[in-house]
């Protein structure tokens, strides 16, 4: 299972990459494998303000729709048009082209409350 060392993780299987006060968010390799073939992604409205753990996007497989939660509080500032056009990026490149949205985080230190790679890897093993 691929768990990149430079990311932070939520217990609900989102990853977060922090660059200044901008956080890129997606779902983990483990999550995409559990969800199976992703056929639809519903992204949040640009400018929406979310709290940590708010349902913010929806990822749908053939069988089920799953909520994706904001790992930290912030404002939605960018969406990934590539996954809207081709949702299978979530399966094939979950940490790259399969990212979902970017947040301008309210408090960058919040990311430290998330799991690091070792802790997340342990939680799914």
């Amino acid at each position: 299972m691929n768990v990149p060392a430079d990311l932070r993780y939520s217990s609900s299987h989102e990853w977060l990459r922090l660059d200044g006060d901008i956080a890129t968010v997606g779902i983990t390799d483990h999550a995409q494998e559990e969800l199976t073939d992703v056929v639809f992604v519903e992204l949040p409205a640009l400018g929406r303000t979310v709290d940590a753990a708010d349902p913010t996007a929806v990822v749908e497989s053939v069988k089920a729709a799953s909520d994706i939660y904001a790992p930290v509080a912030g404002e939605v500032v960018e969406l990934n048009p590539a996954v809207e056009a081709d949702p299978s990026w979530v399966n094939t490149d979950p940490y790259g082209n399969g990212w979902l949205f970017k947040l301008r985080v309210k408090n960058p230190a919040d990311a430290l409350n998330l799991l690091d790679a070792a802790a997340y890897a342990a939680s799914i093993s």
């Binding site: 199976t36 639809f40 519903e42 749908e60 053939v62 729709a65």
Partner: protein
């Protein structure tokens, strides 16, 4: 309800293939092996194999069993010669669907019935409750392993895995020299057959079909394939409150038979016209996959009902669904909207099937 999950005689084969097993109709069954989309396309383009051991098998025999079954089922069983099968329905006194099933005439005075897994007990009690002293009714569900081999390569796979045996014609029933039952039926819209053998021989049969090129497929692909054909699933699209006339299955109802349970209601609906019809609905644009219980609205936003089934069609890559709609809204071309978590997606009523082979 039995709280214990039941286990297919093929379960060890699924585990060896690292299938994802989930509870379905009281059974621990594979929902997928690799990917629902890949398995779906394998059946449309080559061949797949499904475990259908959870389905029920009844053997009905005795003099007069055809006449007896004709009073309990909607289709005309007298049309079957030995070695032929037909899709048919079992109704309650109000004309609602208890179950849909396939009845095969396995002998002059013997029928092999294949019923839905979730309905085995209820169907058997219903039949037993109407039993006639001359009729022998046996629930053989625990004796048989069942598998469906489906797809354009199915007959080649049969020839390879069962040398010297002959596939029956479409809807036909045959037995092999080893005592297995082969039925030229399925639930995918593709050519194929259903194979029943003693439970202990199931894994060897499964392995031989897989070795001959059938891709293991789970219940996930079974559902997308059947829905693309507009085939109903009992419990979703069929219910004790809906008749086969409302479900658009009038072709499988012979109202000229002198009597069968539910006939009065069906005759009335046929003459007056049903107030609702199970309708095929397709998105007109991209959208979030439709799913059972999502609300269906008219073009002007007035509520019409809810979806009974829905999925993103892997063959058409668009949303397809079914719903009981007021008759005035059930004509092909009628514009509708599907409410997915508060977002409305445009759709129209279409003719079944959604997908046509080739």
């Amino acid at each position: 309800m039995t709280p214990e999950l039941q286990h297919s005689p093929l379960e060890a084969a699924h585990q060896a293939l690292a299938a994802r097993l989930v509870p379905f109709a009281g059974w621990n069954m594979p929902v997928q092996y690799t990917s629902i989309l890949n398995e779906h396309h394998a059946v449309r383009n080559a061949a797949g194999i499904f475990d259908i051991s959870h389905m029920g098998q009844f053997l009905v025999s005795g003099p007069g069993c055809a006449t007896w079954l004709n009073r309990l089922l909607t289709n005309n069983i007298d049309k079957l010669a030995p070695g032929q099968g037909q899709y048919t329905l079992m109704l309650n006194e109000q004309g609602g669907v208890i179950d849909d099933l396939i009845a095969y005439r396995s002998g002059e005075a013997e029928f092999f019935l294949v019923v839905n897994a979730s309905m085995i007990e209820e169907d058997f009690f219903w039949l037993a409750g109407h039993q006639d002293p001359d009729i022998i009714l046996r629930n053989e569900s625990a004796l048989w392993a069942g598998m469906a081999i489906q797809g354009p390569r199915a007959s080649a796979i049969f020839a390879s895995a069962c040398p010297g045996e002959t596939l029956p014609p479409r809807n036909g029933y045959a037995t092999t020299t080893a005592g297995a039952i082969v039925c030229r039926t399925g639930y995918t819209g593709e050519d194929g057959f259903e194979f029943f053998c003693p439970a202990a021989e199931g894994i060897a049969a499964w392995d031989s079909f897989v070795a001959a090129g059938a891709a293991p497929c789970g219940l996930g692909a079974r559902d997308t394939l059947r829905l693309e054909m507009g085939y109903p699933l009992n419990g979703n699209d069929l219910s004790p409150e809906r008749s086969p006339i409302e479900a658009g299955l009038g072709f499988f109802v012979d109202l000229t038979k002198p009597d069968f349970i539910g006939r009065d209601t069906l005759l009335r609906q046929k003459s007056e016209g049903p107030t609702v019809k199970l309708s095929a609905i397709q998105y007109t644009d991209k959208g979030a996959p439709p799913r059972a219980h999502y609300p269906v609205l008219a073009e002007d936003g007035s509520p019409l009902g809810e979806l009974t089934s829905g999925v993103l069609s892997p063959s058409l890559m668009t949303g397809i669904a079914m719903a009981y709609l007021p008759t005035a809204f059930s004509k092909p071309g009628t514009p509708l909207q599907i409410d997915v978590r508060g977002r409305l997606f445009p759709a129209i009523v279409v003719k079944k099937p959604f997908y046509k082979a080739g």
